[in-house]
């Protein structure tokens, strides 16, 4: 059974976001809502939701054209169309009688083998299936997406025992392969897994923050020290919307037993209540815990004082001298400062709560760890965090503080161990079971548990991933490129040439590579050490050229950001197997530079051979100029294809966990009778193309769209892309193009404008427009 057509009923934030993501998978989807009471356009609600999604960020669609796959409609006129669909997702208001009456109608029009699921986050399965017949239960389940559906990887599944196993398999496989979701089977308990623990954690963190008299910046910084996203607690509540909290808490109050620790704290604090009443409901309202100063032109950030309920300018808060390393976290929690006590109170309570719930909400600890990682973007799930802190250390500290030890921690045995080269988890009876990976999932983290790298240095490692294929992994901060990473890449190419069939370039960090390490450049510029700078550029050029012409296939498997030098690596590979969430671009101009490791020549070559590009010497140059000059970054892998960072033949994988296996398969396929690419030849028009680009640059400057220094940088870019002092009748080699890139790069490095841009980026993380 395959899913070829879907319907989503309810065009609210969740319903429309789910529909958009189904369209991202290339599947057509109906989006139906009620007919507006005020009359007029009968599809106004669904149509409005689609146009809103096309405008608002983060973008729900991976490409605006995906919106064409979403057909808006209403449940009065279009219900009959649901006889065509394989899956109906109900995402209407959380009211059992409204949902039940909708199910009655759906049962009448849908085919018997159509899956009907609810996206409820609060109503138990038992309530939704009450009074429904056995036939309905055979085809009904809960599929709970997280907001925003495109970006949050968790899908919680709750199914009745009567559910047709084929339907469960169908939805699991579609959600995994086509939507890229991590499916977690949950028990039918309030809030399922992630929101049960997540709400307890958030509510504890808010209440403890108030009682410890801390600032929200301090609390958020403490939380992110433990691998929670930078939004921490209060930033996250602003994102969720404070106005949702009373509903969520009230629902737990109604469904949990009174002895549940969450029941005891599920009351809305007076400060939050008054914030909601004043419309300070978060990012969608007038701001929440954080806000932009009203009426300020300078986007000044303010934060609320939890004691006084008043806003003042937000002070950035950093925790010094602590990192995510076990020793640092232990020391931080052992300290007696108020921030330290706060961290201990929140994490000890949250971890113990999770530990108490293991069998009540899920089958095992891996489901809970995965749910918190996929649904709340925690770096480690609660049980992995317990392991990271050290089970002995934690249990001793809990006892010392006279806190009750959850049953699963009684034995003080590790929750996860490696046995026979495989990761195993512990159950409540202290038995270990192997962590099962679905077929097609290959994780570098698993390989790292089982083996040692073939080569390694501080910036990168080379791993054997089986079948003659290696994985080259960056692991520096933000995976920036440095002399070390290039040196190991060069050494790896030699190694693979001798002993292996092919190479995948991949890592499991959030971001493939943020580009070259800029901190390498500034000291050399200040010392006017141009020779060193020249050698850094040439090292990159030579390494990437060697990579391109290596006698074995190289496939990059990027996710997240692949910027600047990171993008140039992609451009030199034989193929790319990209995660759907790929944000790639040649963004060097934002730091006063142009691509210097072959990025200009590679992107130009792609435009020159693109059939969509109009003929003649200029269009490919102009397109490349625009893409690099405006530092365009793709908002998805799909868009990266349009910008030609990805070739038409490159693959896109929706599920990040399946990326490495897909790239490995691609590499193996390419390794049969592999021939390195042929050297490209460039016939460029030289000065006449430069003049054309110069006219465009000047017009942008005159109209105020380019700054003085934008002009300087883009003129250098124009010089490279037009081929310098060449003529259309002359053939330039790749080395000629690399020499032009080098010359322009070194020229720019010597300009004060570039130094200003570099320093600004390094200190503020934001581009300077000088």
């Amino acid at each position: 059974m395959n899913i070829e057509k879907v319907a989503v009923i309810g065009a609210g934030v969740m319903g429309s976001g789910i529909a958009a993501h189904i369209a991202n998978a290339g599947i057509s989807v109906y989006l139906l809502d009620i007919v507006p009471k005020e009359g007029g356009n009968r599809n106004a609600i669904a149509e409005g939701a689609i146009s809103k999604m096309l405008k608002n960020t983060p973008y729900a669609f991976m490409h605006p054209k995906n919106a064409r796959l979403v057909t808006p409609g209403n449940i009065e006129d279009d219900l009959e169309k649901l006889s065509q669909v394989d899956w109906v997702i109900e995402a209407v208001i959380e009211n059992p009688s409204i949902k039940q009456s909708l199910y009655q109608k759906l049962s009448r029009v849908c085919r018997p083998d159509t899956l009907i699921s609810s996206n409820t986050s609060t109503l138990p399965l038992s309530v939704l299936t009450e009074h429904q017949d056995a036939l309905f239960k055979r085809r009904f389940m809960i599929t709970h997406f997280f907001n925003p559906p495109r970006y949050m990887r968790l899908l919680e599944l709750v199914s009745p025992t009567e559910l047709d196993p084929n339907l469960l398999q169908m939805v699991k496989s579609f959600a995994d392969l086509s939507l890229g979701k991590g499916c977690i089977l949950c028990k039918d308990t309030p809030g399922f897994i992630a929101n049960r623990i997540g709400t307890y954690w958030l509510q504890t963190a808010v209440l403890e923050a108030i009682s410890h008299k801390l600032s929200i910046e301090q609390c958020d910084a403490v939380m992110s020290l433990f691998g929670v996203p930078k939004t921490g607690v209060f930033g996250l509540l602003d994102l969720i919307g404070l106005d949702l909290m009373p509903h969520i808490l009230n629902n737990f109050k109604q469904t949990l037993k009174p002895d549940d620790p969450l029941y005891a704290i599920a009351d809305i604090p007076p400060l939050l209540q008054s914030m909601i009443e004043q419309g300070n409901t978060g990012r969608k309202g007038n701001g929440g815990f954080y806000r932009l100063q009203p009426g300020s032109k300078h986007k000044l950030k303010e934060s609320i004082n939890l004691q006084l309920g008043e806003y003042s300018l937000s002070n950035r808060f950093q925790i010094k001298g602590a990192s995510f390393k076990t020793k640092d976290l232990q020391a931080f929690l052992d300290d007696e400062g108020v921030l330290n006590r706060y961290a201990w109170r929140v994490w000890s309570k949250t971890l113990c709560y999770a530990a108490e719930l293991v069998n009540e909400i899920a089958d095992d600890i891996t489901a809970i760890d995965s749910a918190m990682k996929l649904g709340y973007n925690w770096r480690l799930g609660p049980f992995e965090l317990i392991g990271h802190l050290g089970i002995d250390w934690l249990t001793h500290k809990l006892e010392k503080e006279q806190l009750a030890l959850p049953e699963i921690l009684f034995s003080r045995q590790d929750l996860y161990i490696i046995q026979d080269n495989t990761l195993h988890y512990k159950d409540k009876s202290n038995r270990y079971h192997p962590v099962q990976r679905p077929e097609g999932v290959l994780l570098l983290s698993d390989i790292k548990l089982q083996s040692r790298p073939i080569l390694e240095n501080a910036a990168a490692s080379l791993w054997d991933i089986g079948d003659g294929i290696v994985c080259f992994e960056f692991h520096s901060k933000m995976n920036t490129q440095s002399i070390d990473s290039m040196a190991l890449l060069e050494a790896s190419i030699k190694k693979v040439s001798a002993d292996y069939l092919g190479m995948v370039i991949h890592n499991e960090a959030d971001h493939f590579s943020a580009g070259a390490n800029l901190t390498l450049l500034t000291p050399a510029i200040l010392a006017q050490d141009w020779e060193t700078l020249k050698s850094i550029v040439q090292l990159g050029q030579n390494t990437l050229r060697t990579l391109k012409y290596a006698p074995f296939p190289v496939v990059a498997a990027p996710t997240g950001l692949a910027l600047g030098g990171g993008c140039e690596i992609l451009l030199h590979c034989d193929a790319i197997q990209a995660h759907a969430e790929l944000y790639t671009g040649l963004v060097e101009v934002s730091v006063g530079l142009i691509p210097g490791w072959g990025g200009c020549k590679e992107l130009l070559r792609r435009w020159q051979s693109n059939p969509r590009c109009p003929k003649g010497p200029l269009p490919a140059i102009a397109q490349t100029f625009e893409t690099i000059g405006l530092a365009k970054v793709s908002q998805s892998a799909q868009e990266a294809k349009e910008l030609l960072f990805l070739a038409k033949t490159d693959g896109i994988t929706m599920n990040k966990d399946r990326l490495l296996e897909a790239a490995k398969t691609r590499t193996l396929a390419l390794s049969h009778d592999y021939q390195p690419p042929e050297q490209a030849i460039y016939n460029l028009p030289g000065q006449s193309a430069f003049s054309a680009l110069d006219i465009a640059i000047n017009n942008l400057y005159l109209s105020g769209k380019a700054t003085v220094y934008d002009v300087e940088i883009t003129k250098q870019l124009a010089k490279v892309l037009s081929g310098g002092d060449t003529d259309i009748t002359e053939a330039l080699s790749e080395q000629d193009m690399l020499d032009l890139e080098l010359e322009a790069f070194l020229y720019l490095l010597q300009q004060p404008g570039t130094l200003a841009r570099l320093e600004h980026m390094l200190t503020t993380g934001k581009p300077l427009r000088n």
Binding site: P614, P617, S691, I695, N699, L702, S703, G704
Partner: protein, 382 residues
């Protein structure tokens, strides 16, 4: 000297580039539909047509390969009709009329189709491959100056405020919309058929909802602190226009509907950085050649490339408002570069009939620093 007459005028609807209804129609196809309809409506025997002269500002891509000859085939004219593509940027199709007039004087034919086209959706302004002469660009960069900047120069030179420009543009919108509402444009428009879509019947660039307030809030388009905006510039437009030019003897013999005689023609040149003033000297030359003065002229069609450019011309040429662009102008209607010359000449000839007037002037500025003008005299049946 022979008398030469305009004996027919037709055009496609003018619609906005990229988003408009004609964006999907190729320039050659668009022109062919207009030419075919003009030939049918005028009643001319197509075998008598000497040449199809087609003006186009960027004759490349779909507008390339001597598009004029291809239009002959597409319009199913006899294979004996020749085809000539010419380029004088915005003056192209008025130049087509001038070439025909010259040829008729030389006994080099009796009847000519003089047309113009521009699909600014499908062939970008400047074309696909701008490759300036590097030395000329260094020595004399204004040879390649952008059009918006030339209009900014005129606004400065003639002290034309942004508010004056907006008042002019608003009036253009109002006149054009009124003409459209009164059906004064529909008789010149040929509905254009599109593959798998409805035919296009009406002009699409008009912005009748324009207000002075709305215009005043727009950002300048060309200079950061300039005065020219999208509202006071003619929009990028798709469209085609054509007129039938023939000797008066031929027209009389075949009982064609004579609209106007061509009294005189002229081109002129000026500094490229103030190209918009081109109509002034071209008009003076044409008037002198016609032995007329500006006060003799009853109808003026002045192409509105920019409001500031039109207002500059009006500071030099004393033209009373009730004679000027009475059915509106290019700021509202649109300016498909190669087609506008045939449109304003055909329009001026038609207006002489409708308004029962004697003399008309059609004139326009041309990028690179030129002007072109045509003076017409009505052919009234007595």
């Amino acid at each position: 000297m022979k008398n030469i007459v305009i004996a027919g005028y037709a055009r496609s609807p003018f619609t906005p580039a990229y988003k408009g209804a004609l964006a999907t129609v190729r320039a050659d196809e668009l022109t062919a539909q207009v030419v075919k309809a003009l030939v049918n409506e005028s009643g001319i025997n197509p075998n008598d047509i000497e040449d199809l002269i087609l003006g186009c500002a960027f004759p490349e891509g779909e507008q390339g390969l001597n598009i004029a000859r291809l239009v002959v085939y597409l319009a199913e004219l006899p294979v004996s009709v020749a085809g000539l593509t010419i380029n004088r940027f915005c003056g192209s199709s008025m130049q087509a009329i001038h070439i025909a007039a010259g040829a008729i004087q030389m006994n080099a034919g009796d009847a000519f189709i003089c047309a113009g086209v521009e699909s600014m959706s499908r062939v970008p302004m400047g074309g696909f491959n701008i490759l300036p002469h590097p030395e000329l660009y260094k020595k004399y960069p204004q040879a390649y100056i952008g059009m918006g900047e030339t209009a900014e120069n005129l606004a400065l030179k003639y002290h034309i405020s942004r508010a004056e420009q907006e008042a002019f543009a608003l009036l253009s919108q109002k006149k054009t919309y009124a003409a459209q509402q009164q059906g004064l444009l529909s008789n010149e428009i040929i509905p254009i058929n599109r593959p798998n879509a409805e035919s296009v019947q009406i002009d699409g660039c008009l912005r009748p909802e324009s207000t002075a307030q709305g215009m005043s809030e727009l950002q300048p388009s060309f200079l950061k602190y300039g005065s020219i905006t999208a509202a006071t510039s003619s929009p990028l437009t798709d469209g085609a226009a054509a007129v039938l030019v023939c000797s008066e003897d031929y027209a009389d013999k075949h009982r064609l509907n004579k609209l106007a005689r061509i009294r005189s023609i002229a081109v002129s040149a000026c500094l490229p950085e103030i190209m918009g003033i081109g109509p002034v000297s071209a008009t003076h030359k044409a008037l002198a050649r016609a032995n007329l003065s500006l006060s003799d002229i009853d109808i003026v069609e002045l192409n509105e490339a920019f409001a500031a450019q039109s207002l500059s011309v009006l500071k030099e040429l004393n033209i009373s408002p009730e004679k000027l662009n009475i059915d509106g102008g290019a700021i509202a209607l649109g300016h498909p570069l190669g087609a506008s010359g045939a449109r304003i000449t055909g329009k001026a000839a038609s207006l002489l009939q409708r308004e029962n007037k004697q003399f008309a002037l059609a004139t326009m500025c041309i990028g690179g620093g030129q002007g072109i003008a045509t003076i017409l005299e009505a052919c009234h049946e007595h």
